[in-house]
Subunit: 91 residues, 2 copies
């Protein structure tokens, strides 16, 4: 479920996602959710920390959820589990 | 501050750290804290998810904190920032 207040973290540089969060806040979003899975989880935490420490010091981490999703990869017939994180931010 | 109820996540396989958490719970610890920084943050989430889903389904994530630490690397004279995560577990 992709929502318009969600920034999904991939393999781009951290600052790209920081800018995406700032754009959402400036557009009037009350909450911004940073989502990632697998190896990108570390980058999601980087995005939130850079946003808070360098650009929007008033932003608060309202909630952090972790979980597991099943992913069907092309190479393997069995679905594999991948960890997920959701970090909810408030301005 | 390393405490005896803390599992610090490094580059070993996920199951090593899962076992470390289970050993702490079996020794009578009320809380176990899983800590990681930088690229190991993703593995810390994996450890908690594998522990919950495969070995100790009653374990609850009581709190998740993220932050930033300064690290002095040998190659660079300036300290660099690294993201951190602390996941507190209750049996």
């Amino acid at each position: 479920m992709e929502r318009s207040n969600t920034v999904f973290i991939g393999r781009k540089p951290v600052l790209n996602y920081v800018l995406a969060c700032m754009t959402l806040f400036k557009s009037g979003q009350e909450n911004v959710i940073v989502k990632a899975r697998g190896q990108s989880i570390s980058r999601a935490v980087d995005v939130v920390e850079v946003l808070k420490n360098r650009f929007m010091p008033d932003v608060e981490v309202a909630e952090i959820k972790i979980g597991t999703e099943q992913v069907q990869s092309e190479e393997r017939s069995m679905p594999s589990n991948v960890s997920t994180i959701e970090i909810m931010l408030k301005p």
